[in-house]
């Protein structure tokens, strides 16, 4: 079972990493932060799978922290964008 | 071969990569990012050393792990100071560069 969960974690990680390619092509900043968000959700899924596969229950806490701070970064991004637009105006 | 070896090699490459970015990037913010990559490489090397020291039921030696936690917090403080200096520089000079012309 552990092997299957590890393989699933690896698959999810690689899949979301392909999504990171979106950052490469952009074109807008919103796309980039979106890709980071997808990466965050996939990372949480991989962490939960890892927690079970390697029996490290604490990895669930890492997932919890990651979820919270991903939201924090997105809000910081939205604030940053609106602030720089206000500066330009 | 220890399970930690891939991460050890990874940390070696990270240090080189970060150093390259630190030297070649003209923008200060990119230099800060590159410097953080070097730091991460060094921390990862600590993690590999800690992993190799696994004993008496612990997955790794807790002493280097605790040092890495301390290091991460101090690295964040350093980054915050560097960013504040950079923003002040830009406010003063209106240019985001380190050159004095």
């Amino acid at each position: 079972m552990a092997d299957f969960l590890l393989a699933a974690a690896g698959f999810v990680l690689v899949t979301v990493a392909v999504g990171l390619v979106r950052i490469l092509s952009g074109p807008g900043d919103a796309d980039r932060i979106m890709a980071a968000q997808l990466f965050g959700t996939g990372g949480i899924a991989a962490l939960l799978l890892l927690a079970q596969a390697m029996s490290v229950p604490a990895a669930i806490d890492v997932g919890l922290v990651l979820g919270l701070l991903a939201a924090f970064v997105s809000v910081a991004f939205v604030k940053g964008v609106t602030r720089s637009q206000a500066d330009e105006a | 071969m220890s399970a930690a070896i891939p991460y050890g090699l990874c940390s070696a490459v990270l240090v080189g990569l970060g150093l390259f970015g630190l030297i070649t990037h003209p923008q200060p913010l990119r230099k800060i990012l590159a410097f953080n990559l070097i730091g991460s490489g060094v921390f990862l090397l600590f993690g590999v050393i800690a992993r190799r020291g696994a004993a008496v039921g612990f997955g790794g030696d807790p002493v280097p792990q605790a040092l890495v936690i301390t290091g991460l917090v101090v690295a964040f403080a350093g980054t915050a100071l560097a960013v504040a200096l950079l923003l002040r520089l830009v406010d003063e000079t209106r240019r985001g560069t380190l050159r004095d012309e």
Partner: protein, 97 residues
């Protein structure tokens, strides 16, 4: 019994992985930021939900199970509200960008 539980886990986790794949495809293929956001927020949160569902068959205690569900609910909440903000930011910065 444990064989049946393992089977359920495998089915759910595979379904979850499929939705992550779908989310990535959407992110790569859709033409503009808003529809990419639409593809992304549904697919990956469903994927995470299915992974959590699959793991629920494996965990021992009630507390661990509640914590897993808690992680999913938190991500759902954060994604639902933050994607709203991102959509506004994407629209404010204009379609040309």
């Amino acid at each position: 019994m444990s064989l049946a539980l393992n089977g359920l886990t495998i089915v759910a986790v595979c379904a979850g992985a499929f939705f992550f794949l779908a989310g990535t495809v959407g992110l790569l293929r859709f033409p503009d930021a808003l529809s990419r956001l639409h593809a992304l927020t549904k697919a990956d949160n469903l994927g995470l939900g299915l992974v959590v569902l699959g793991l629920l068959f494996q965990v021992g205690g009630v507390f661990a199970a509640l914590k897993l569900i808690g992680v999913w609910l938190l991500t759902l909440l954060a994604a639902a509200t933050v994607s709203q903000l991102l959509a506004r930011a994407a629209r404010a910065s204009g379609p040309h960008e």
